[in-house]
């Protein structure tokens, strides 16, 4: 902190003493964090527990079943030009989501620069990538249901729990992505209209937090459901 720090900014203690001080003062605990951002973080914390419950439930049923677990790598394979490629669609979906996280991070940056036009376009691209992710998921579900005959109560490849956990976990994640696309579009058009001109554009960062979280959950689903 420079000596020319704004005079109405209170002196802030760093490190562990700072944590104690932040929580002990009779003001807000999270200093200089917009309230919307704290609330989004707390919401994401609760969402973490929801997704963890799903993944732990998946772990439990996968460990308890005495029937072999279906080969995920084979089931999610695509045949391109006669070539059998395992997990191809899932890999593409993963890269799309990471790309959208990147454009979102840039949107947050341009938001704080008050560059409305660039922020709008970056958020629009993020939303479109998100929508294409949901589209691919719809394709994946259709293929699984109609071609592979996987149902929540059973399938031909092995343990019946495969379908139940798959539709539950990816369905809930897909719902989050869909909600995120709508959220992104609403905020993007409001940014373009100049609705947030009186703020510091922390709304873009808050929207970004939600979007990065959706990407974060996918990292765990990809590791535990598709790769394990």
């Amino acid at each position: 902190m420079s000596s020319q720090a704004i005079s109405d900014t209170p002196e802030q203690i760093e490190g562990w003493d700072g944590v104690v001080d932040d929580f002990a003062t009779e003001e807000e605990a999270f200093k200089q964090v917009p309230w919307g951002k704290s609330m989004m973080w707390i919401f994401l914390l609760s969402d973490t527990f929801i997704f963890s419950c799903f993944l732990i439930g998946y772990m439990a049923v996968r460990m308890t079943t005495t029937v072999p677990w279906p080969p995920a790598s084979e089931i999610f394979a695509l045949t391109i030009a006669g070539e059998h490629v395992p997990l191809l669609l899932i890999a593409i979906m993963t890269f799309i989501l990471i790309t959208s996280s990147g454009t979102m991070a840039l949107a947050v940056n341009f938001g704080y620069r008050r560059d409305r036009k660039t922020t709008f376009w970056l958020m629009l691209v993020t939303a479109l990538l998100g929508a294409s992710f949901v589209g691919m998921q719809a394709f994946e579900w259709t293929k699984l249901i109609t071609e592979e005959g996987i149902r929540p109560w059973g399938n031909e490849f092995g343990a019946a729990q495969f379908g139940a956990t798959f539709f539950m976990i990816t369905g809930f994640h897909g719902m989050h992505v869909t909600a995120g696309v709508i959220y992104l579009l609403v905020v993007a058009f409001r940014v373009r209209r100049g609705k947030y001109e009186h703020t510091d554009y922390e709304i873009v960062e808050i929207t970004g937090l939600y979007w990065h979280f959706v990407d974060l959950v996918w990292v765990f689903i990809f590791a535990f459901y598709y790769l394990w």
Binding site: S2, G18, V33, T66, A160
Partner: protein
């Protein structure tokens, strides 16, 4: 002081992390593509997963630039999940052996 004008960082940081996330995703995909099996597979999957999660949370979600009070408030509670996972693993193991011994077919 950076917080005065929000979370403003050089763009290069984001591009670097973006690239790293692509590389890590590629590597975790290679684990499946090259059919690595057993403990090596599980270790690699978890290592790449945690690295990706760490990069997303700390840089893309700006956690590394937040005040320690917020970091602790958000990142400590999920540690409880470790206990939850442990409990459920013990329980699942018990159910698995019960099913094997008593010949249940699910």
């Amino acid at each position: 002081m950076e917080h005065a004008e929000g979370q403003q960082h050089p763009l290069g940081v984001y591009f670097k992390i973006w690239g790293l996330l692509f590389v890590l995703s590629g590597l975790s995909y290679m684990v499946d593509f090259l059919e690595v099996q057993g403990y090596l597979r599980w270790t690699l999957i978890i290592v790449f997963m945690l690295l990706k999660a760490g990069l997303i949370i700390s840089v893309f979600m700006h956690m590394m630039w937040e005040r320690l009070a917020l970091i602790y408030a958000i990142l400590l509670p999920p540690l409880l999940l470790v206990t939850f996972i442990g409990l459920m693993a013990v329980e699942a193991n018990y159910i698995f052996w019960t099913r094997l011994i008593f010949g249940a077919s699910s």
